[in-house]
Amino acid sequence: MFGEKALELIKELERSAEGIPPFNDDGIRQVLEEMRILCQANFDDIENPTTDPPNYSSVRVRHMAISRNKRCILAYLYNRLQKIRQMRWEFGSILPPEIKSLLSEPEVQWFTSYSKALATYMRSIGDNYGLNLATDVTPPKSLYIEVRCLVDYGKLDLEDGEVIFLKKNSQYLLPRAECEGLVRQGVLQHVTS
C-alpha cells in the first residue's frame, strides 16, 4: 500500500513526544522516491493509454497517493520546526552539541536564521529601546532569590559590577532578573523557603 513509509515518518515524531528524533534522511528519500515512481506510472498511463477512451481513474488514485506523501513530508518538517523553535526559547541561541547533532543542516540553518530574525525584532521593540523577550518568563516576586548552583559554572558578572564565582552545591542570594535565565537553563536551582 502506498503512503506506508511516509506514515512511518509521522509515527516517529509522535513516539518521541517531548524530545526530537534524529533527522530521518533516508526516510525522506524513500518517500520522495515513491512519489517519483507514482508520477512516472501516471506519465506512462497518460502518454500511452491502454484503453480507448483512456481510463484515467488509476491516474487520479495515484495522484491522491502523491498528495498524501507530500502532506506527510511537509508535516514531518513542520512539526520538527515547531520543536526547534521551542528550543530557541528554552535552550537559548546556542544549542547543546548532542541536540544539534539530531538536526539536519537545513534545520540548523533555520535555527540560526530564526534566532537572527528574533534578535532583530527584539531590538526594534519600543522605538529601538529593545526588550529581551526570552527573560522574565515567570511573574517576579522579589528582587533577590536564593539559588543553589548545580554545576561548576564559573564567573558571573552582575550589573552592579560585582563578580561571583558559581561553585557546585553552594548557595547564593542573587538578583532574580539576572539569574532567572540560568535557573531555566538548569545551571541554578531556585530554592524556595
Partner: protein, 217 residues
C-alpha cells in the same frame, strides 16, 4: 534631589489627554495582555501604549541612577519596573507565538488592511515575513525541489493554519450591550449587563473585545 522622581508622572500628564496618567496606561496594557492571552486571533497592536510605558520606564531608570545606593525608593521602583516589564514581555511573547502559529493567515489578513489599520507593528510584520520565508526555504531545499514537477508548489491555501474563531472564551462586561446573536443550536440573542461574566464563543463578541466593551478574563 528629593522630588526629582516625582516629576516623571507629571511629564506624562502634560501629554495630549488629561486622564492619560501612567497608571491608566499601565491598566490598559494589562487589559491588552489578558485580551491577547485569551483571544484565539491576534488583536490590533497596542504599540503606542507599549512605547509610552517603555519610555516611562527608561525615564524612571534615569532618575533612579541619581538616588543613593541605600535609598528605599530604589528597591520599590525596581520591583514595580520588573512587574511592568513582565507584563509587556508576556504580552509581546503571546503575540509572537500567534504570529508564528498563524503566519500565512495573519499576513494575508494584514495585506487587506491599510498600514494604519494593520494589526501588526512594523517590527512584527518584518519578523512574520522572515519567519514565513525561512519555513518556505527549508521546505524547498529539503523536499519541494525534489518532488515531481507539478507537486513542487508551496500551496499557500492548503498550508494556512487558521485560528478557531469559534473557540470559547471567558469575558467580563465593561459596557452593557444588547442583542448579541450567539450561533449554536438555539441561536438565542443575549444581553450583556455591566459586570456580568460569561463563557461564550469568541466570534460573536470579537468586535466588542477590540472596542473594549468586554474584557477577556
Amino acid at each position: 534631589m528629593d522630588d526629582s522622581v516625582a516629576d516623571v508622572s507629571e511629564h506624562l500628564d502634560s501629554s495630549d489627554n488629561e486622564e492619560f496618567t501612567p497608571g491608566k496606561v499601565l491598566q490598559d496594557i494589562e487589559n491588552a495582555w489578558l485580551n491577547e492571552k485569551f483571544a484565539p486571533e491576534i488583536l490590533p497592536h497596542q504599540s503606542e501604549l507599549v512605547d509610552c510605558m517603555l519610555e516611562q520606564i527608561s525615564h524612571m531608570e534615569e532618575n533612579m541612577k541619581k538616588l543613593k545606593k541605600g535609598d528605599i525608593r530604589l528597591a520599590i521602583h525596581k520591583m514595580e519596573i520588573d512587574r511592568i516589564r513582565f507584563v509587556i514581555k508576556s504580552y509581546l511573547r503571546t503575540r509572537l507565538e500567534k504570529i508564528e502559529q498563524y503566519t500565512i493567515h495573519i499576513l494575508s489578513e494584514d495585506d487587506k488592511k491599510s498600514p494604519e489599520e494593520s494589526y501588526l507593528t512594523p517590527g512584527e510584520r518584518k519578523f512574520a515575513k522572515e519567519y514565513l520565508a525561512n519555513i518556505e526555504t527549508l521546505f524547498r531545499t529539503v523536499a519541494l525541489q525534489h518532488m515531481p514537477a507539478n507537486f513542487q508548489a508551496f500551496e499557500v491555501d492548503k498550508l494556512t493554519v487558521k485560528p478557531n474563531l469559534n473557540s470559547h472564551v471567558f469575558l467580563r462586561v465593561n459596557k452593557p450591550v444588547q442583542g448579541i446573536i450567539v450561533p449554536g443550536t438555539t441561536n438565542d440573542e443575549i444581553d450583556l449587563t455591566a459586570g456580568a461574566q460569561r463563557l461564550i464563543q469568541y466570534q460573536p463578541i470579537a468586535s466588542l473585545v477590540k472596542e473594549g466593551a468586554v474584557q477577556l478574563i
